[in-house]
């Protein structure tokens, strides 16, 4: 038999109707995650056509994108401040009721960002196909799943048929050798990878992250890496499942249990790419050479080591980006003043991210004039952080501690950065206006963001880590 990539294996296992020159493959979807923002128009199509959801048990709803993070609003003691968001949430609740879908609603103890709760509940499993109307669905690939974002029309297709029409993408290997140095984490690694391949480098591709540095990552770190595959243009990113994966999933409420668990793990062990399997392209990165990274422009590939200087010249897009950011070619990034620090999002809103940030803040204060917002990725992450006392470290330092959601990553719920202000953010996109009209975003790891909060300036976090 020909050697197969992990992507090939999962793809072949889910083909309902093979692709032909005239038609794409019909691909079966094991898990459909849904949220309030990208579904209303899809439910409307089903309603008009008199269709039901084909597999409600393979569908889960949560509320994350436009939901408030202020507890008064979350728990209904005051109305949701962004009225259109409140109406959208109410419509999603009605749709889930009408179509018989399980919803982790506003007050639910397991609600959270869609890409945080899937893994947390044990729903995200190796070998499965997962879609959601959100481009960061690539996160779930960390478990050796084929997971990708879809549009609202496709959300309707999956609700009604549990399938999508797809042409097979190409598999690209990202080989990461060596080990990450101290103070350099998964966020720095993926930013460096995107800096290397560019924001469109993965168009038409699925990434498989491989190599010693990847094997050494925890599941939460692997999720951070896969999460930002889309920022390199790849719809999906994957990492082969191993004992790290299995021990993360073992005992999770919706993972297989008992004999079913043993059977599942035996199957999952056959998923990794066969020796000798061919990738369309391979990219090699040496983890040992990396430093803490931070972006300086308006896309995630405009990234530098925190000790670096902005290039002295570039094309018109480069100049436009620098103009938006208020930076000058040749500027050093370290020492630039910061107005806002955001810790959270599907990229860095998990418990290990909060622990890292708290590690920098413990016994220190957020610098005068800096607003720091800490938003856990889910209500479960929030509870665990509170059990560990992380919330008190944040609030004692002068940061705001909130309910879970996408919050300031996308700024739909009123958590925004003001025009012209600088935000060091652990989220995934530094696009113009992403955190609010005119906001200037610098993407970084949780420790780099926390160091910026403490110093009020862009800083090398290694100077604050003991």
């Amino acid at each position: 038999m020909t050697a197969q990539t992990m992507f090939d294996k999962i793809w072949c296992d889910h083909v309902v109707v093979p692709e032909t020159p005239d038609t794409p493959a019909v691909l079966y979807i094991d898990l459909h995650l849904t949220h309030e923002v990208t579904t209303p128009q899809a439910f409307a199509v089903l309603r008009r056509a008199g269709l039901k959801v084909r597999r409600p048990e393979r569908t889960l709803g949560t509320i994350d994108h436009s939901s408030p993070t202020d507890p008064e609003q979350v728990f209904g003691r005051v109305p949701i401040a962004v009225e259109s968001a409140g109406r959208q949430i109410a419509e999603f609740e009605r749709n889930c009721r009408e179509f018989g879908l399980e919803l982790l609603d506003m007050k639910h103890a397991e609600r959270g960002i869609v890409h945080v709760i899937g893994p947390e509940l044990g729903l995200t499993q190796p070998g499965s196909t997962i879609v959601c109307g959100d481009s960061h669905t690539s996160t779930h690939g960390a478990f050796g799943a084929l997971a990708f974002g879809i549009g609202t029309t496709e959300v309707g297709h999956v609700l009604a048929t549990q399938c999508v029409l797809q042409r097979k993408p190409r598999a690209v290997a990202i080989n990461v050798s060596g080990r990450l140095p101290a103070g350099v984490g998964a966020k720095d690694l993926i930013l460096a990878i995107i800096g290397r391949i560019g924001v469109g480098g993965g168009t038409g591709c699925v990434f498989e992250y491989r190599g010693e540095a990847i094997r050494a990552l925890s599941m939460e770190e692997r999720m951070t890496v896969c999460n930002m595959s889309i920022e390199g243009g790849a719809r999906a990113g994957m990492i082969a499942p191993d004992d790290t994966t299995f021990s993360y999933l073992s005992g999770r409420p919706r993972a297989p249990q008992g004999a079913a668990w043993e059977r599942a793990v035996n199957g999952w062990r056959r998923l990794p790419t066969d020796p000798g399997a061919r990738f369309e392209r391979e990219v090699d990165i040496d983890a040992a050479q990396l430093e803490p990274m931070i972006t300086y422009g308006t896309n995630p590939a405009m990234v530098l080591p925190v000790s670096g200087r902005i290039p002295a010249s570039g094309d018109s897009a480069f100049r436009k980006a620098l103009d938006y950011m208020g930076f000058t070619p040749g500027d050093a990034l370290k020492g630039k003043p910061v107005d806002v620090v955001f810790i959270g999002s599907c990229t860095n809103g998990r418990i290990s991210d909060l622990r890292s940030a708290a590690g920098v803040l413990r016994g220190r204060r957020v610098a005068k004039g800096v607003r720091m917002l800490v938003v856990p990725g889910s209500q479960s992450v929030k509870r665990l952080a509170e059990t560990e006392g992380l919330d008190r470290i944040f609030t004692a330092a002068g940061a705001e501690w909130r309910e879970s959601g996408c919050s300031m990553c996308i700024g739909m719920n009123g958590d925004t950065v003001a025009r012209g202000k600088y935000s060091v953010s652990t989220s995934n996109r530094n696009f113009e206006g992403r955190q609010g009209a005119g906001a200037r975003t610098l993407l970084a790891s949780p420790v780099t963001a926390a160091a910026a909060a403490v110093n009020g300036r862009i800083s090398d976090p290694r100077e604050l880590l003991t």
């Binding site: 309902v16 038609t23 209303p40 109307g133 481009s135 297709h157 243009g233 896309n299």
Partner: protein, 192 residues
């Protein structure tokens, strides 16, 4: 959907590279629950309008020459970032029928085709020529997958066979997928 066989229009040029879907429709417009109405207010909102909501006279869509243009020529890697289908909804609501670039991001491309918005990826030299000649009249032949320049030169572009069939016949993919119900049921039984 209406069948789309030919598109004929002058072009409007937005040369920026990596135009992400947050620029096409900023997130604050995503609380809508319908597909319509995004063209007037949301499309390129932060480039089209100043903080007070007034049109920026220097933005190309606000210039008289852009009125009625159905073809947008944009820089490399158009539509990257968020999967929001609001981006093609806003572009079609505004009146665009085709986007020409040297690269178009995967999810945007897929979403565009489902809404009768044609993604046209061409070579860098032809694209550069279009960038230097804003407002030229182009003709796009969907069946032949060709873009015809004013001098009659034809440039081929890739268009997936099934997407082309759907555009030409005015059907959507949904009917095809619903027609696979028996095979989907058989697949589910075989895995159970």
């Amino acid at each position: 959907m209406e069948p789309i066989r030919h598109i004929r229009s002058r072009t409007v040029v937005l040369p920026s590279t990596n135009i992400d879907t947050d620029q096409i429709v900023p997130a604050r417009f995503l609380t809508t629950t319908t597909r319509t109405g995004l063209g007037a207010t949301a499309l390129f909102a932060d480039w089209r309008f100043d903080a007070a909501g007034n049109p920026r006279p220097d933005f190309v869509l606000n210039t008289p020459a852009a009125a009625g243009c159905r073809i947008l020529v944009a820089g490399h890697n158009f539509g990257c970032g968020s999967s929001r289908e609001h981006a093609p909804w806003a572009l079609t609501d505004y009146g665009f029928q085709a986007i020409i670039s040297t690269e178009i991001a995967d999810i945007f491309r897929s979403n565009a085709l489902k809404n009768g918005l044609l993604p046209v990826v061409i070579d860098a030299a032809s694209h550069a020529w279009l960038g230097q000649h804003p407002g030229v009249e182009l003709s796009i032949d969907v069946e032949r997958r060709t873009l015809i320049l004013p001098d009659g030169r034809a440039i081929e572009f890739p268009l997936e066979a099934f997407a082309r069939y759907c555009l030409l016949s005015g059907v959507d993919e949904f009917g095809f997928l619903l027609g696979q119900a028996d095979r989907i049921a058989a697949f589910e039984r075989a895995r159970a």
